[in-house]
Homo-oligomer: 387 residues x 2
């Protein structure tokens, strides 16, 4: 009986989400999304944050909009054009796809972004605070694609490097560096394309709220080459730390005008990247003096009390030493993220408090495990760097 | 009767192209395309240059591969997975789409490229001479995204800037500049993403076959803002020449370490870009000393004899002066391009010969109005610059 009741609740929930757009009155003030392809009228977004898509598919039986883990049915008109909209979405950036008779494909109306393990469609629900990452008439830095061969992974890799306004025209100035990592199923393109890291810095530097800095955005997926060809395939070993420390940092310090010391080197990451970069800084305190963890910590997904003697090989056991070495230890999370994030970050913060380790904690109001949380986190974090 | 006979020929041709893949034996040595998304097995290419695509669409009635202006029917298996292949394609790069029950969408297996007026799928048919644009273990330059506000268009614009190997580490060296333009329905991303301009230069510079140079790739679509709001909309005026001369060149000369004189400035473009840049150099011989026209000339699409007194306001009337001022006048075309290209370029060359104007003419064997023609053209052209 209990089982049946729970099933009924689930069914009701499931119906209410897929039928929501039809049941509620939709505000008819849709505008083309800011990340549409040139000249494309759809997808559109209204003031409630609903996403309306439209696609011509005259012979299709069923077309759906797949966004936020919900599929919304579209309706076909007499010309074979399908149209429909989602329930209101959180402000910020979302990945989505269209589903045409069972085929999951990008919407031909949008630009494409790498996330969720694929190049696919994205949409921007205008945020009330969008000005901090808006393209404004201020001096702009450059984002450069830097290709390199990694001996450790035996493969070509790529990082994007932001150089701040003035870098090109002040050949005698050297700059501090932030190493900034993406999350799982994302890549080195995310922080500039979806995160607008360059625009956030351009705006902060123009307002003198952040010091001019270089930002290096590499790919956190780096694996040891599998030499045992022919034998049972094994899960490849993650060696991003080795690649970053032994290949990327020396290359950046050689190729760009950096200040090559720990006090002028910061590291931060989102989600998987927060976990990775926390391990990296604690193993390499001679290299970095600033840490930022956006929606992640190295104890993820556990919310258990942390055993400070064993966690990261005792890296936080000497709280006084950590306070001396890490100039800013920064943590952030969105208030709408799944419980596992605030809970694991909470357990980490409890450990910090117990050890007397100073840190900054930031909550992004009304955002989930998505890019608006991380844009805001970056905005807050970089203001505290290299002062 | 004549009409019927012609129709019959057309029908026969039309059947043979759509049924070609089925009728001929397909060589089963397909490999994933080099421009697939990470981890994607399809699309694939075989040694004949056929493109095989695969997509899950269990409820679809009809799925087609749309490439080279031909639609090929795919076949559904018992799991709802559709598979099929094209006729052999020319070596080089091609845009394509999938058609799912009448919806034209990108293939979720590929990376996306801007061409044909959209972000969509691309595929690479390995060329016999692909080494000249391959990613090799040589020093690599940077490709930087440079955002700027254009007062002339009243809009934000973007160019990509290639700086050669050594640019970052030799702060006292200044470099010549090539301004390199895309074709119609393409944009400022084309020359690096599809054209591999950066890799072509990296390889040539490593071989000492080209001098280190900066390459600026801007967007040829630049329009005068429409001030007459509310009145009858007019076709906006193309003002790319004004933007390039008055905004882009001064910005590049300020931001990058260029050699700011005509002998160290070249311009080239493909198709529409060839037409645009020929007009630009002839109007601005004080700014440029080298011209490259890849699959295009300013008399396009006409193959009529050129009246040298009126063509481009008499810019070629004084052949001796042109010879003195343009150090290299370079033209190229693919042997498989539609007739209008070789014919209009031929008419232009006839005029040059008549005027006694020296020029270099290059034919790309076996390639059409596509990127392999333009990669080869760039490879040939840049070796003649700034010597």
């Amino acid at each position: 009986m209990k089982y049946i009741a729970i099933t009924a609740v689930f069914l009701a929930l499931s119906f209410s989400s897929s039928g929501l757009a039809q049941q509620q009155k939709v505000v008819e003030d849709f505008k083309p999304s800011s990340v549409n392809q040139i000249g494309k009228e759809y997808p559109q977004v209204n003031s409630e944050g609903r996403v309306r898509v439209q696609i011509e598919a005259p012979e299709a039986n069923n077309v759906q909009l797949d966004i936020g883990a919900v599929k919304y049915d579209l309706i076909k008109d007499e010309n074979g054009v399908w149209t429909g909209e989602s329930a209101p979405q959180d402000e910020g950036f979302h990945y989505y796809q269209l589903n045409i008779d069972g085929a999951s494909v990008p919407d031909p109306g949008t630009k494409y972004f790498y996330g969720a393990g694929r190049w696919g469609s994205g949409i921007e629900i205008p945020a009330h605070d969008k000005e901090f990452y808006a393209l404004k008439n201020v001096p702009h830095g450059l984002v450069s694609e830097n290709i390199y061969y990694s001996d450790l992974t035996e493969s070509w890799r790529r990082c994007f490097v932001y150089t701040p306004p003035g870098y090109q025209t002040n050949p005698d100035t050297r700059y501090p560096v932030l190493y900034l990592q993406h999350g799982s199923f994302e890549d080195e393109t995310g922080w500039s394309a979806q995160g607008h890291a360059n625009l956030i810095l351009d705006n902060l530097i123009a307002d003198k709220k952040a010091v001019p800095m270089i930002i290096v955005m590499d790919n956190g997926y780096a694996f040891k080459p599998n030499k045992e060809q022919g034998s049972t395939p094994t899960r490849p070993a993650f060696i991003f730390e080795e690649v970053l420390i032994n290949e990327v940092i020396p290359m950046i310090d050689k190729k760009f005008r950096t200040i090559d010391n720990r006090e002028n080197r910061a590291i931060a990451g989102l989600s998987m990247g927060a976990n990775q970069t926390m391990r990296i800084i604690m193993n390499n305190l001679d290299k970095f003096a600033y840490y930022g963890g956006f929606s992640g910590t190295a104890n993820y997904p556990s919310s258990d009390e942390i055993d400070v003697e064993t966690f990261l090989e005792g890296a936080f056991a000497d709280g006084k030493k950590v306070n001396e070495q890490i100039k800013v230890l920064w943590l952030g999370v969105g208030t709408k993220e799944a419980e596992v994030f605030p809970k694991s970050i909470g357990a980490f913060r409890n450990m910090l408090d117990k050890q007397g380790i100073e840190h900054v904690f930031y909550k992004s109001e009304g955002t989930a495990h998505e890019w608006l949380t991380w844009r805001r986190s970056l905005y807050q974090y970089v203001q505290l760097l290299f002062n």
